[in-house]
Symmetry: C2
Subunit: 284 residues, 2 copies
């Protein structure tokens, strides 16, 4: 399977839904609406939506069934980037070659745009036409993923890393994986299970997919650590903690484990497998 081709075919599905969900930049309050759209259009790779589509296809369904989950995870991901970039957090002025939301629209509007994007993620998941059971289960999963136990708790610990400038040791490596798991991997896992649930996956299948998503998510972050290995500010980096060779070995081991959980899924899961390989091996 050709990964860029897969993205090119599937991403318009989620982009169209995001366009419909986001308030128009022409309607008041225009500043808020433009700020909400700033990091959504143009967005990043849409890797999480792609995982949702591929997971639905792995269950033998059409990718379209995963659209609500795909939109929801992209909205959560984007809201978290808007807040992470704030002066009181990472204080980033640029993202994807453009000014960050608080640089373009001011800090207050950036906080509020992130807040509105989080609410919109839950609205996306509760789309008309989805069974109430799927909405309820999806909301339970996404709310837990976006909350203190995962996304937000991971970000708090990530900030502590930057501030503490800890010396690398074995416990340090373990703590980094814990941050990666909560801050990044949980949402990647929810992307996969979100798409698979809407395609009718069983609870048992969802539990296995969740584990594979967590493994891929940590491996994905290790790949990020490797790509950012020259960044002196990236204290929460497994590459820095245990060195590039061991870190990349760890990522490959996690990829292998994740793929082994999909072994019984056959040909339909090939796009999902390819996306997993891509996530871990891009540019390395």
């Amino acid at each position: 399977m050709d990964v860029p081709g897969y993205f090119a075919e599937r991403i318009p599905l989620v982009d169209e839904r995001l366009e419909a969900l986001l308030p128009s930049a022409d309607a008041p309050p225009t500043e808020l609406h433009a700020a909400m759209r700033h990091l959504i259009f143009p967005g990043g790779k849409r890797f999480r939506p792609a995982l949702a589509f591929a997971a639905a296809e792995a269950m033998g369904a059409r990718p379209e069934v995963a659209i609500p989950a795909a939109a929801a995870v992209e909205l959560i991901h984007t809201y978290s980037l808007v807040h992470d970039d704030l002066p009181c957090m990472d204080d980033d002025v640029e993202r994807r070659g453009r000014p960050t939301v608080h640089i373009a629209f001011g800090e207050a509007v950036a906080v509020l745009a992130g807040d509105a994007l989080q609410a919109l993620a839950f609205e996306a998941l509760a789309a008309p036409g989805i069974s109430a059971e799927h909405v309820a289960a999806g909301v339970r999963e996404l709310a837990a993923t976006a909350g203190a136990a995962f996304l937000v708790g991971g970000q708090v610990d990530d900030l502590d890393f930057s501030r503490a400038a800890t010396e690398p040791d074995a416990a340090y490596a373990h703590r980094i994986e814990s941050v990666h798991q909560r801050k990044s991997a949980a949402l990647i896992a929810a992307s996969i299970t979100g798409g698979a649930r809407l395609a009718g996956a069983s609870d048992r299948r969802l539990a296995e997919l969740r584990l594979s998503g967590l493994e891929i998510g940590v491996a994905f972050q290790i790949a990020d650590d490797w790509l950012d290995r020259e960044d002196p500010d990236d204290a929460c980096s497994l590459v820095r903690a245990i060195g590039a060779e061991l870190a990349l070995e760890r990522a490959e081991a996690l990829l292998g484990k994740a793929l082994s959980r999909l072994e019984d899924l056959g040909e339909a899961a090939e796009p999902l497998r390819e996306l997993m390989r891509f996530a871990v091996r891009r540019n390395t």
Copy 2:
């Protein structure tokens, strides 16, 4: 009915649920968890939870059925206060006689604690044991209420008021009511409909209750404007825009309209009516 007695009896129901939902301040990351709890315990009046309980009782149900909605609206309300107090917004150092969250825990943790409280509101609504239909409808309502069209959009326009220092005129009064409706009244309406829905209210009844909640919510804010009439920073005030007499007349008219929508509900709706009167007439 005795309003303080009603609060004293019903509020422990929501406090117990909030205690169970919020992560322990002893568990890591302790700073995040303590920050999330800071404005929840001790909280404010719990007016929105009380409305949810009274709305369930107005439908002939036990107040306990409304607990998930009561917890959810209190979590949304609290998260919005945490973010409103931030230096980039209202820059408040004290709330309810205690330091605001960013003063006590720093700005980054305050943003993140608010974020986690919002996610937790959706988790509260998706409580086990609630029918999937009620979860889905409740999430749709709460996500819309918390998003750009209401809570966040109202806050953006409220900030614009403080910055623009507009001269009072008729259009100004109209814009203030629009901010009150979106920033405050929508969540008050969702408190009432959230409780009533879990008590089995029909769609037609919910639509009528929503209108009464919006009316009460605006009247509640006008009462706030009156209580804060000496505050020179409160630019978004109907009392300032049209004077105390006309503003309080407007509040009474809205209260009358809201109560008229509950006329056919009989004795069971008496706590809800009393809370509505209390909301508009407290301390005036």
